[in-house]
Each structure stands twice: as structure tokens, then as C-alpha cells.
């Protein structure tokens, strides 16, 4: 039995720190770092406990079990996502001390950043721990509003425009999701995932509810063709914020989507769902890659790479449970998708932080600006390359583990098309990452000078990229963790 504090801390600690940062901005940095540190330790202990005991941890808030109350629950998936969010969050906040730290005078950006970032992390953790469809909604709104505000933080015209567009997509997405949740409550008299799963049946309201939720969440996850808000938003935000936005925020809505289909309504998925989500994911991979290939700015390449990489997540739906009778690792499409979510998060955060550090050093993020920066920033360049290895799905990174699990499932179940898409995605990633890598590693002009940046802006992305690679080296651990509390549908398949 895990102490409830472990489940509460990842949510409550950042929230407390956010409140403190609002009331007492001088203490924001200290409060933020210690709070996210606490959240990180709590999620780490949680992961270890979940792995050790092989069971999830649950807490009925207020002592009111569902359906009346809300339950927090950490299964393997929750624990992994929590750990990823806290790891990335801590890294981002450490780097953020530079641009947003206390400088003796309160500034608009310096004041606003900390509460927003902390609430964003708290919202992520709240979503990862929740089992209640309305609580998901509140968490999503907390997440979206803080994310939108972070996008606009720079105050430039493009940033505000991007934030507004993001907000429009996010709002409609939330509303459709909420409508679905309301219909589910009207049908089943509960909002709890487990209770709905126990009584779910195939009927009009349930299907419409699931459809509305899926459409809304797809818009929030920036699944092609609902991705158009993402590149400008992730490019317009300050680089440290982009790291969280690109690495973590879309994963929250994807997480809920997984909960909807695999945990709450596994019997309701039909070929329409799997085919539509799979096709959109596949197109996202190809389309996002092509657009990444066409960009000249580092941040835009990374942002379009996110569009492409998010596509992989949705291949989980057609692939899940490809062939559960084969060897254990052949049932791994679901696990592969989740590993992909985590390793992409780590690698993408590392990349955006690298891009931020390089922008600071080079004064711009055009490929021509950062040309030859390896001589000045070897660690950041190395971190970028490591992150690229993960995104390309090269061994032994976490990206490879994910790709491997998805491919085996695809081939084992004869789903050649999806397998081919996964393979092509790796090649395309290599193609669009080649240019930034070649530019970074190129010999610089002798008269080109770069500004010095603090060492931590190079070390943090390096650490994140290394963790992403480590995920693939010590592959058994993430694999085992994700099996704890995994829904039956992840193994037996949707439909």
C-alpha cells in the first residue's frame, strides 16, 4: 500500500508553489524548483513501488469512492507519464531561471512564467492520475489555459496570434470532450472510468459521446489535419515553454484518449475508429515530415517534427493487440506507443532546450545562424544529436524500443501498411533531421562569433537526451512498468 502523499504530491506541490509564486514572486524560482523536485521524487518512488508490487496505487479523494467522489489512481502508465512530466518539468525550470529568474525587479514575463509553468505541470500530473471524466476536463482546461498563456508570453504579434489560434482549437476541443463526458454521465450515472467500463454497452449515446470526445481530444493532440495551430504556437512561445508544450502537453489529451478507448469503452471501438485514427496518424507522419523538411528555422523543424511524431501515437489504435498469442513482446503495440510518448517527450524537450540555448548564442534560429555552433556548444550539439537518434528511432534509444514494439506488432498481425508507415517515418525523420545536424556540425565561418550561454542550458538537454536513450538500453524496466494495470484491451485489441 502506497502512502497517499505519493499520489497527491505531484499535483499539490506544484500547485502550492504556483500560489506562492503569485503572492510572492521573489520566491518563485526556489518554490518552483523545490516543488517540482518533490513531485519528481514522489513519482520516482511511485514508479519503483508500482514496479516492485506489480499493482497500481489508488486513493479515493475525501474518502468518497466513485461514483460519488473522485479517485486518483496510478497504474504503470500513469507512473511512467508522471515521471516523464516531472523529469522534463524540472529540467525546463532549471533552464528557465536564466530568462525568467528574479532580477531584482518584477517584470511582466518573469512574474507570469512561474505560476503558468507550475500550473501546467500540476495539470499534467492531475490528468495522469485521474480516473474521472469530468476531472479530466478541469485538468485539460487548466492545462490549455496555462499553455496558451505561455505561448503568448513573448508578447510579439506572431506569438499572440498563435496563442489565439491555439486557444480557439483548444476551446472547441474541450467543449466537444465535455459534451461527450456529459452524455456518458447521462447514460451511465457515473464519470468514473472503471464504473463506466463495467456497465458500458453499445448504443447511440455511448458512441456519439465517444466520438465527440475523440474528435475534441484529437484537436487538442494536434492530430493531422487538426494540427495547424501547433507549429506557430510552439515556435512563438519562449523556447523553455516550447519544450514543455511540445514534449508534454499533447500527451495529456492523448493519455485521456487512451483511457477513453482502452480503459472505459474498449468494446465500443469499431473499424471506423481504428481506421480513421490510424490513417490520420499515418498521414501526420508523412505530412509533418515533409513540412519539417521544408523549414529553414530550427524551432519550426522541431515543431513540425512534433506533428509527425504525434502521428505514431495514433497507430496504437489500429495496431494494439496485434497478436497476443505470440511471444510476450509481440503484443507490444500499445506498450510501444506509450514508450514512444515518453521517449519523444524527453527527446523533444531536449531539442527545444538546445534550440533555445543556440538561439541565445547565435541570435537567431535560422539554420544559417546556428551553422558551425558545435565548436562553441559541443554539449548542446551532442544533446541535439542524441535526441535526433531517439526521434529517428535508431538503436539503442527509447525511440527504437517504441518503433521495434510497434513494428513487431504490425508484422506479427499482418498489418503491413502500418508497419511500412513506421519504417518510412524513421527514414523521413533521418531526412529532416539531417539538415539541422549537418548545419550544427558544419565548420563555422572563422569570423563568426557566438554569445556565451550558461552551462546549465547545455547540460539539461544533454541529461534529458541521455535519459531518452537510456530508456531503450534498459528496455526491460519501462516495458515491465507499463504492463502494470494495463487494460485488457491493450493486449486483446480494440474492436
Amino acid at each position: 500500500m502506497v502512502h497517499p502523499a505519493l499520489l497527491v504530491a505531484p499535483i499539490a506541490a506544484p500547485l502550492l508553489a504556483a500560489l506562492l509564486a503569485i503572492a510572492f514572486p521573489r520566491g518563485a524560482v526556489a518554490a518552483a524548483l523545490s516543488a517540482v523536485g518533490v513531485a519528481l521524487v514522489a513519482s520516482l518512488v511511485l514508479v519503483v513501488e508500482v514496479a516492485r508490487t506489480g499493482t497500481g496505487a489508488a486513493l479515493a479523494i475525501g474518502g468518497w469512492p466513485p461514483p460519488l467522489g473522485i479517485a486518483l489512481e496510478a497504474d504503470g502508465l500513469s507512473a511512467m507519464f508522471l515521471l516523464a512530466a516531472s523529469t522534463i518539468g524540472l529540467g525546463v525550470l532549471v533552464v528557465a531561471q536564466g530568462p525568467f529568474g528574479w532580477t531584482g525587479r518584477e517584470t511582466r514575463k518573469g512574474y507570469s512564467f512561474w505560476p503558468l509553468a507550475l500550473c501546467l505541470l500540476a495539470a499534467l500530473n492531475a490528468i495522469f492520475l485521474s480516473r474521472d471524466f469530468f476531472n479530466f476536463y478541469v485538468g485539460l482546461e487548466l492545462l490549455s489555459l496555462s499553455a496558451v498563456a505561455l505561448v503568448a508570453l513573448d508578447g510579439k504579434r506572431e506569438a499572440i496570434e498563435a496563442a489565439l489560434r491555439y486557444l480557439m482549437f483548444a476551446l472547441v476541443g474541450s467543449l466537444l470532450y465535455l459534451l461527450g463526458a456529459a452524455l456518458l454521465y447521462a447514460q451511465y450515472g457515473t464519470l468514473d472510468i472503471g464504473l463506466i467500463a463495467a456497465s458500458a454497452e453499445t448504443n447511440g449515446p455511448t458512441l456519439v459521446a465517444a466520438g465527440l470526445m475523440t474528435a475534441g481530444l484529437a484537436a487538442k493532440t494536434a492530430l493531422f489535419p487538426l494540427h495547424a495551430w501547433l507549429p506557430s504556437a510552439h515556435t512563438g512561445a519562449p523556447a523553455v515553454a516550447s519544450a514543455m508544450l511540445s514534449a508534454l502537453v499533447p500527451k495529456a489529451s492523448f493519455f485521456i484518449l487512451v483511457r477513453v478507448w482502452f480503459d472505459a469503452l474498449p468494446g465500443q471501438a469499431g473499424p471506423g475508429l481504428t481506421l480513421v485514427l490510424g490513417t490520420m496518424g499515418a498521414v501526420a507522419i508523412v505530412y509533418g515530415s515533409i513540412l519539417a523538411l521544408l523549414q529553414e528555422r530550427l524551432k519550426l523543424i522541431i515543431a513540425y517534427s512534433t506533428v509527425a511524431q504525434l502521428g505514431y501515437l495514433f497507430l496504437v489504435f489500429p495496431l494494439a493487440g496485434g497478436d497476443s498469442t505470440a511471444q510476450p513482446w509481440f503484443a507490444g503495440a500499445w506498450t510501444g506507443g506509450m514508450v514512444h510518448a515518453v521517449s519523444h517527450g524527453l527527446a523533444k524537450a531536449a531539442m527545444f532546450l538546445c534550440a533555445g540555448a543556440m538561439m541565445a548564442a547565435a541570435g537567431g534560429d535560422k539554420l544559417s545562424d546556428v551553422r558551425g555552433i558545435v565548436a562553441k556548444m559541443p554539449l548542446a550539439t551532442f544533446a541535439f544529436a542524441l535526441a535526433a537518434v531517439t526521434l529517428m528511432g535508431l538503436p539503442p534509444s527509447g525511440g527504437f524500443l517504441a518503433k521495434y514494439l510497434m513494428l513487431t506488432a504490425a508484422f506479427a498481425s499482418g498489418a503491413w501498411v502500418w508497419g511500412a508507415v513506421v519504417l518510412a517515418g524513421g527514414l523521413l525523420a533521418a531526412l529532416y533531421l539531417y539538415r539541422p545536424l549537418a548545419s550544427l556540425f558544419a565548420p563555422a565561418d572563422p569570423d563568426r562569433t557566438f554569445t556565451s550561454v550558461p552551462l546549465r542550458t547545455e547540460l539539461v538537454p544533454l541529461a534529458l537526451a541521455l535519459v531518452a536513450v537510456l530508456l531503450g538500453v534498459a528496455s526491460q524496466f519501462p516495458y515491465d512498468i507499463l504492463q502494470v494495470g494495463r487494460s485488457v484491451a491493450a493486449e486483446a485489441g480494440l474492436e
Partner: protein, 104 residues
């Protein structure tokens, strides 16, 4: 007033909510200004709330279900928060575009 008297009142309000959702979504999607989109967003929201509340009134003998009511109050407050942020962004965009504030 000419209505079919067989229809339960929750169903009338529920269907009204559904129609409001459709109307609001149309208003959101059609070519228009951002301010009008924010307005339409609020209509979609209140339509959803009405639908939700109406489904909580299916067994009037026990009174309206308090859970949807509580959730709707939460939802109304959240919708206002989103509206306020949207309006602030809109005004900031107008200000920055007008070139009065090039401090960024």
C-alpha cells in the same frame, strides 16, 4: 402554444441544448471575427450545460440531480476564465497590430 404534450420536459430542454450546440458550432466555424467566435463558443458551452442539466431532471420526483448542477457551475466558471483570456489576447493582438506597443 402548440407543442406535443407527450414530450417530457427534460427531453425538450435536452434537445434545445443539442440545437444550441449545433447553432453555436456553426457560429464558431463560419467566417467571422474572433469576438463573434468567442460569443459562439459561449453559446456552445451553455448549450452543453443545458443539455447536461436537462438529463439530470429525468426523474423529477427526486429533484434535479445535484451532480450535473455542481459540474455545470464549475463549467460556467471555467468558460468565463477562457472567455476572459480570449478577450485579453484579442485586445492585445489589436494593440500590437496597431503598432502602439512595439516593446516585445
Amino acid at each position: 402554444m402548440g407543442g406535443d404534450p407527450i414530450i417530457a420536459s427534460w427531453l425538450v430542454y435536452g434537445c434545445c441544448g443539442a440545437v444550441l450546440v449545433g447553432l453555436g458550432l456553426f457560429g464558431f466555424m463560419r467566417p467571422t471575427t474572433t469576438l463573434r467566435r468567442v460569443l459562439a463558443f459561449n453559446i456552445v458551452g451553455s448549450g452543453i450545460f443545458l443539455l447536461f442539466g436537462a438529463t439530470g431532471y429525468r426523474v423529477p420526483s427526486t429533484g434535479a440531480d445535484p451532480v450535473p448542477q455542481a459540474l455545470i457551475i464549475t463549467g460556467i466558471v471555467v468558460a468565463l476564465a477562457a472567455t476572459a483570456l480570449a478577450v485579453a489576447l484579442m485586445l492585445a493582438l489589436a494593440r500590437v497590430s496597431a503598432g502602439r506597443d512595439e516593446d516585445a
